[in-house]
Amino acid sequence: MGSTGEGGFGRRDLIKRSAALGLITTPAMGFLSACASGGEAATNGPGKAAVTRENPFGVAKGGKLDVVVFKGGFGDDYAKAWEASFDKKWGTTSSHLGTQEIAAKLQPRFNGGNPPDVVDDAGAQAIKIDVLAKGGQLADLTPVLDAPSLDDPARKVRDLLIPGTVEQGTQGGKFVALNYVYTVFGFWYSGKLFKEKGWTEPKTWDQFLDVCTKARDAGIGGLAHQGKYPYYINVVIMDLIAKKGGLDAVKAIDNLEPNAFADNPAALAAVEAVYEVVEKGLLMAGTNGLTHTESQTAWNQYKAAFIPSGSWLENEQLKQTPEDFDMKFLPVPLLPHSKLPFEAIRAGAGEPFIVPEKAANKPAGLEFLRSMLSREWSTVFAQQANSLTVLKDGVDPGVSLRPGTRSAVAAVKAAGSNTFQYLYPDWYSEMDTEIQNASNELMAKRIQPKEWIKRAQAAVDKAAKDPNAKNNRRS
């Protein structure tokens, strides 16, 4: 999830598109017939070349390559640079589309059987990966994992990825999405503000509340959050649960256990901890109704001490951040008797790149993904988008990083193997939305922690009833 693009898109536009979508699909389909099998895959592909060690997918020279990327917090310059490099190597002609409206632009193409060859399916209007996977629209990317790395042909691509990448992109047992950007989640603060006020980095939740209280007494807000998008405060709640209850608590939620939230003391403690911030009046005034841009900019203007976010924050706020702000990352502080250490962080791969099953030039799509996992392309991304990739040690040491990214890298190092990641947002979008709704109500003081637990468990139980749920298990 990069920067969530604000606002919706024109309804008329969508109606037009869904109408067009119907027109594309049905003539080939025989309306409502049992064997409805959509438009045929377009056959403008260049055919396949011989599979060799250098060309493991059999990319034909001189073909076409159709790339669509989400143009959000990371921009899309990196993709243009990649495409130029790909065209040079393979003699392909690539077409490029950078957009925020992934769903509106691509849904008709998926339905019509003529999807692009590579898609960066991210942002607020992404097509959900679980939905695409269920529809059989995603190519199995396992061959990319088993192909030789471009940097070191003696090793497989699989062995050069940060652990967790494969699990994160697996749907129903098949690896279908390459989550390319390595993101860490937690709080962020201004090193400059903290130095000025003499505050120290809190390691426990009590110390965190203490800094927030001092901030309030100094006339600024303690905690800001992106209230219009409860996604962000939800990260704090869920991370507190994970750290207090350990990896078992994370798995219980992802596996939709009947006691994922209910009768789970870690969950109640976490929600009560966040609610304490609300009750003690430590929120930045009005933050519950602000968009991500508004709240993050207010935080950049020293109107609050902390804000939760993923590590895309620095790139997203590049223009609003004062030169001497000294952006710093803080792992979510600990509740008493937590199972995970303070350094533990939610970290994982985001920004899913996919190759559609019906892509016209599937070999080139797969080769594109393999190239992304080369040090050359990974460095291009780090330079253009101020972010890390899932390629282990994937950035040329010559590249200097901005303060926020630097502190995120240090946090990753300190965390070591103490990282965790929730999979339920990718698996169960409806459950995720319902939990976020509850968090929004909690922050507005309209429900109490116990009610939050009840609603979250109800969302889990509802998701567990979906027959598809049994395909998603983690251990």
């Binding site: 606002g7 939905v131 529809g135 109704g289 939305t433």
Partner: protein, 314 residues
Amino acid sequence: MSHVARGRGRAGFIAGFLVLPLALYLTFVIWPYIQTFGYSFTNWSGQSPTFDFVGWENYAALMEDGVFRGALWHNLLLLVFVPATTILLALFFAFMVNAGGRSGAGGVRGVRGSSFYKIVYFFPQVLSLAILAVLFGAVYRSDEGGLLNGLLIRLGLVDAGRPVEWLNDPDLVLWCLLLVVVWHGVGFYLVLFSAAMQSVPKDVYEAALLDGAGRAQTFFRVTLPLLWDSVQTSAVYLGIAAMDMFVLVSTMTSGQFGGGPDHHSEVMATVLMRNFLYFGKSGYACAMGVVMLVLTMALSVVVLRATRRDRIEF
């Protein structure tokens, strides 16, 4: 040539002109509607051309969907308040601008500066809904940077530490949105009613004045009856707008495609879109679309029937 044959020839001539537009209309409007009906009986995910036929299951689930019922209720609330408020305000302003001035030597005219008002009132109408959403986003912003909050805080009516979270307050959000729609619509209907009023012959008003009718009497006894056709049409248009509301709700309120906080500003279109694009329940969303279509059509019929009156010729 017989009379009948000539009639048929003319029908063919007219049909000849209509074939192309009719074909376009059938393919691009009617056919998608029919498809929506079809999809509403399937479990189509929206991202894949494969699906199964599930009968009335979607409609049965819809009956039990509390969020959709809430959205329907909000649409009905808007359906009452959007047309009522907009038309009343527009009628009042149009009357004042056209016939509400003091009667002087020149007979019937509007209040002073009426031509200026007419232009000012029309301003909001030239803004697109997207711009409107951004504009009112700034008005309703939930910290002291918001126009309303900034004003109230400066006046000392609101504590700076606890600004009003307009769009994040379950009791306020729908009315805030209503205000935007009314603000946007009044200007247009003012102009519409003004045009209708100007086509009313001056002597009718002058006769009323001579008979000693005051402003109120002139309005209710003369203006309103003569404007009934326009009012009726406006009610249908505004009713359809109130059944929609998608753009404003989805951009101004929280949640995927809006509807927040906690479904308190949800309208049918936002629930539909979320299910269609985000939850991958497109078949279910199509069932919602069918319900919306039926309701909107029923509404138009009811309004047109209920407000039918004898046309007054003048």
